[in-house]
Symmetry: C2
Subunit: 193 residues, 2 copies
């Protein structure tokens, strides 16, 4: 199998809400294989580099902060790092600091938000990458804004985090990738090569 | 902030394709906060436990097999482990072995597919968990089935995998989580606690 060229021959916007555009794309490869209604959801403020969202790992005093968020699609509470959409005109770092403040009340200098790279949550349907960040110091801890579904915010030590990961108590893809990449960078997780 | 009870008061199916149902849910919490059209996409064959998909990491002779897949939503090729939907009546293990065979040509005993737990790709919109597996031995290597966008299948050693992860060359959330969890279980990645 070799890589072929695939192109979009048509795109139909069939629904939109506050944050996403939903498209049905007609795609085709060199050999004439095609999919006529390929479903794609794309954040409204998507950037040139394909970035659409940010997620930020708070690592303060050797503990990781997670929020318990009610997720209607799964009908359950999930342990997650703060994440959300980039607003129009906003840099990724500023979006990360804003999301953190809104969801946890932690106020940080946006310039101290350090990139951990990108994750594609589900490349088969979602037209965006999420930019992961970590922040290690805070300016102050204030009150978070209430949003529907936003539960308690708790700091866990690495022992507890490890247990929660391997018990599948933490299932959120952004959270898992951010934790692993950060702990690797930090040497708290090491690769035995 | 304490956790509140949130319930779905209404659900409207507004679109469906071969694999997903798309809903607009009306949700409400105890305090009367509500979202009238909350967008949810749900795999058609979702299981009781919320499982809808599987992903499988082939780890053969100390190398990890990744496929280069063209993803229309991102308009680019991504390095990914095989993944896909569970078919009606199929166990998660059988789905994992089938997806592996279809996308890579590797034939394995489904009973040798070992669970690595669950990941929620984007719990804000997708009503399903993906069950991660690893397989360490194959029965035979045959030809994969051509699907639009399916590119070359390559085995990488752990050095290359590490480099690709930290360069953001591997961005797929399922792939990243499966690799980290498996290498941790195997002691190839260790936690310095």
């Amino acid at each position: 199998v070799i890589n072929v060229t695939i192109k979009r021959v048509n795109r139909k916007l069939f629904y939109q809400n506050i944050v996403f555009n939903f498209y049905l794309d007609h795609i085709q490869d060199d050999a004439g294989n095609e999919i006529k209604e390929y479903f794609v959801m794309q954040p409204k403020n998507m950037k040139e580099n394909g970035g659409g969202g940010v997620a930020i790992l708070p690592f303060i005093n050797n503990k990781i902060g997670l929020i318990n968020v009610y997720r209607p699609p799964l009908n359950s509470y999930q342990w997650e790092i703060p994440h959300g959409f980039i607003e129009s005109g906003e840099t990724d770092q500023k979006a990360a600091a804003r999301e953190l403040a809104e969801e946890t009340g932690l106020i940080v200098d946006f310039e101290s938000c350090i990139s951990l790279g990108f994750v594609a949550p589900d490349a088969g349907v979602i037209a965006a990458r999420v930019h992961l960040f970590v922040v290690e110091s805070i300016i102050e801890a204030s009150q978070s804004t209430y949003e529907l579904g936003l539960g308690k915010f708790v700091f866990f030590d690495i022992y507890e985090i490890k247990r929660m990961i391997f018990n599948s108590e933490i299932q959120d893809g952004f959270t898992l990738v951010a934790i692993f990449k950060y702990l690797s960078n930090k040497g708290l997780v090491s690769w035995n090569l």
